[in-house]
Symmetry: C2
Subunit: 184 residues, 2 copies
Amino acid sequence: MPLLMLKDLPRYECLLEAARSFPDLDPSACEAFLNLLRAGDEAYRQSESFFSEHNISPGRFTVLMLLSGTLGREPLPQTPAELAEKAGVTRATITGLVDTLERDGLVRREHDSDDRRMMLVHLTQKGHAALREILPGHFKRMAALMAPLSEHERKTLVRLLDKVAGQASAMGPGARSQSQAAAV
Amino acid sequence: MPLLMLKDLPRYECLLEAARSFPDLDPSACEAFLNLLRAGDEAYRQSESFFSEHNISPGRFTVLMLLSGTLGREPLPQTPAELAEKAGVTRATITGLVDTLERDGLVRREHDSDDRRMMLVHLTQKGHAALREILPGHFKRMAALMAPLSEHERKTLVRLLDKVAGQASAMGPGARSQSQAAAV
DNA sequence: AAACGATGATTAGCCGCCTAACTACTTGGC
DNA sequence: GCCAAGTAGTTAGGCGGCTAATCATCGTTT
């Protein structure tokens, strides 16, 4: 998540003191929120750093994953609109990502035969090979990052994060709307 | 965190099945990792949506917060290098952010009198007023997002996220290095 | 006094996100 | 058959991140 963010978060004690001047400041909510942004950003930068070693970006990797279908199965061509919906970005963004993936030979576009407004984006053999090369290291990196947490702690983390994500969706603007997708 | 990310994460059962084809895939680590990215992204988008109502971006907001010093205290002029270090971005990025903040009259730059290589960035009165206008709503939004979690769950979340962030730092490339900063 | 190495900030160009507008195409009503 | 409305994808421009290069400045050495 390339986004500007503080490297060191304020201590809880500082938040308590700040709450004196700002009655709307809930110290524990603030602390949790900032820690979530920071951990999410660091997790993203970890994957970004790893992907750059393979000359790909997280966004392009996600597009390749969506086109590969369920892991180990048949590639699944999709339209830019479908990719955008599943990835939670705009169709304009997908155009840019597919442009560079096509330039590098990892995907190819073709018009739908029935409706020429629509494109189908296909994973190429080269794209498939690129994924197979990247995935083991990606999974190792994920596992390494989560190594300090026990199985129980991971389940707890997922449960708490899901609560927050659910609330973000319920709060509306800014959160990604519901859709069905499966890709790692 | 404007970054491309899946809207709906794969179910744990799908990860278990995928692990058959990819021995490096640790299902619980993968699930936790993806949930962290998604929740972090949604939290970021929540704040981004809120800030856009005030014609500011999260990055610029962070710069203003760093210049305001500890909440409620005296503004604290800083150099672009200090801002970059504390925010965990490059000096080039800070140049761009300060450019637009200066254009909008929220900050001003002046050369350091002793060393003219260095700039000092000051928060203006207008910038200070903008912060005071934004902060109550920002804190309310944070509190609303974290409302589904009890105090105990928030503490647990912070503890688990801190473990992950610590591990990211230990893993090196991609993670933000340690520095001292306090700003909300 | 001049040269050199280092530092701080900025600039240039790329990438990935956005919104808004545009182009190509499809569908349905008349 | 024509036209209006809507859809899909792309383009243009802005913003915020990056790297690498450039410019201005400082301190040290000769």
